[in-house]
Point group: C2
Chain length 351, copies 2
């Protein structure tokens, strides 16, 4: 029997390369890990015309967790793979928490002139199943001068409350105990009002937590000018998408940004489904196959995966190994391949 | 008779203070300017229960242009003044171009460690009348656990094409002749598809322009890591809102960011209405009345106003005076009040 049964979706572009390094590190921990690879993405789509078969989805439900590389390729029309594979998995497996740490590791170069590691250490709790990501909308008179195209954002008390509660619980585990809601209440008055009321109501149960609010436009400014104002950020799916790429940028680049698509239900309960871990970066087809993508984001995503499965000791070992590697990179800079970075971090995990 | 008949809406918070300095500079140019002040905003709302009366709106249509300070105050529920004054003006006066330069002036400190003035010099052409700003949406079972709240984004070929054409024309006036569409085509598939098709179609008429595309999440990253990739950015109303605050941050702060809400129709035509110029910053009630807000953004907005009215020489004089002031600030830094900054720039405009 195995400690962890893992489904692996390498996906498109650099996905396979970075996932290989994530697995290399995972397999070095002394855990019994069984991995099954699912070839989803552009190649599968071109070969079969399929994106994600119902049977595959049903199978995926049987694993402890999923590790994903990247989904999306210019050879497929925009949105097809994203919607029918990546977002479908997030929605079907009810990954209502998209957890994205924004943390500047010591030694890592940030584009911000004045930021020190202690200034950039937040976690973005991005809602993962609602808002404009629901895919609702339509088009009429397409291609004519009378075309109209709509997109609809769906937001529910159920969906907002559960992710807000998760964010408050997360804030309780952090020394600063601060939670910031980011939205655009002055324009998205219906959805913003719902979010603001839910945060206000739930905050009454958490008197230890300092709660504040920031418009998304101002937040994007503060990510650059005053990142220390943020500890836990809870936000809508689309705003979280934008802010976490920005967060990755200020914390040293998209090559380091990890994420977890979390279904927080108790294992064994009806609501449970495997959570899915992936780097924040995309498939970067321009550098695919060149052994030059940075696998660190995927390796840190593996750490998040282990943490989620209760393997906190192993998770910490990986994070530590990465932290040391990141310091070394600065001190003794040599250009390394994807594989070499994976090897070096693996050596640190085992050594 | 006057050269310029101007409606002035000081608005809330610091609005009045910064507008006073904008007018000080404007009045120093030797033009005959007639200004009429409209007291809209929180105080007017509390006193009368009204936001923007139909008659006021009708009157405003009669001016050459509008100068606005800032609208919004915590004493009024979120969205009321924004929707019923600011956004109502943008929509009713058909300000379909929201023009927002992102430019790092020499001498200005940017939070980005490596950016030089030549790296940050773009102009964001934000659509101003569509998308989620249309205000469509609703709520059902408000306050219950079954609440749902929706927001709807409306996008039309008419609305997209006219702003895209404006952006291509703008790109033609700039040395780099590059236009980047920013959207989220992989998730907002209906609206994104419309935008992408319109840009592709119109680009055929502008073979001199290099056109590319960037997802909004990636764009927010590149604003920080690689701002030189952008020259003219054309984007949706909401994405433009977020990116231009971020742009203000990287270009030295919200105290410097100017904007124009432009109705580009020919004066005298049926579609014409006065354009409206305003700093990108908000009403900042926390520092209101303290004579410490930076009026530079408003002063640069006055330059945009003059440029729009064909007073290019005067506009250039203001921009030049500001540029000199910005260099001096670095060299010989003293803390100045709102009024002192206005005085100094006025002196440079006249001297
Ligand atoms: C690929 C895309 C659909 C996805 C998203 O928008 O969520 C990505 O940008 C991310 O952040 O994981
Ligand atoms: C005040 C608000 C409605 C406005 C907007 O969202 O457009 C502001 O943020 C801006 O950018 O001018």
């Amino acid at each position: 029997s195995h400690d962890i049964r893992l489904a692996v979706i390498p996906g498109d572009g650099i996905g396979g390369e970075v996932v290989a390094e994530g697995l290399k590190v995972l397999n070095a921990l002394g855990l019994k890990v069984e991995t099954t690879t699912y070839a989803l993405g552009a190649a599968h789509y071109h070969a079969t015309g399929e994106t994600l078969h119902d049977e595959t989805l049903a199978e995926l439900r049987g694993y402890d967790a999923i590790l994903l590389g990247a989904i999306g390729h210019p050879s497929v029309p925009p949105g097809v793979l994203e919607r029918e594979v990546l977002l479908k998995l997030r929605f079907e497996l009810d990954h209502y928490v998209n957890l994205r740490p924004v943390k500047l590791y010591p030694g890592v170069e940030t584009p911000l002139a004045k930021a020190r590691p202690e200034d950039i250490d937040m976690i973005v709790v991005r809602e993962g199943t609602e808002s404009l990501y629901a895919g609702a909308g339509g088009v009429m008179r397409r291609g004519t001068s009378q075309e109209i195209a709509t997109q609809e954002s769906f937001n529910t008390a159920f969906g907002v409350e559960r992710v807000v509660r998760y964010a408050f619980e997360k804030a309780m585990t952090r020394p600063r105990r601060k939670l910031t809601l980011v939205h655009k209440t002055n324009v998205l008055t219906y959805a913003g009002d719902l979010w603001a009321r839910v945060v206000e109501r739930v905050s009454a149960e958490y008197p230890e937590i300092t709660t504040d609010y920031c418009h998304v436009d101002a937040a994007s400014m503060f990510f650059v000018t005053d990142p220390q104002r943020f500890d836990v950020v809870v936000t809508d799916n689309l705003f979280g998408d934008i802010l976490t790429d920005l967060g990755a940028a200020v914390a040293g680049g998209i090559g380091l940004a990890a994420s977890g698509n979390i279904n927080p239900a108790a294992p064994g309960s009806d609501a449970w489904a495997p959570s899915m871990f992936e780097p924040v970066h995309g498939s970067a087809p321009d550098i695919a196959g060149q052994d030059k993508a940075d696998p660190t984001a995927t390796i840190l995503s593996v750490a998040m995966l282990l943490d989620h499965l209760g393997r906190t000791e192993e998770a910490a070992r990986i994070e530590q190994a990465v932290a040391v590697d990141l310091v070394e990179r600065q001190v003794d800079w040599v250009s390394r391949t994807t594989r070499e970075i994976g090897d070096d971090i693996t050596a640190r995990v085992t050594g």
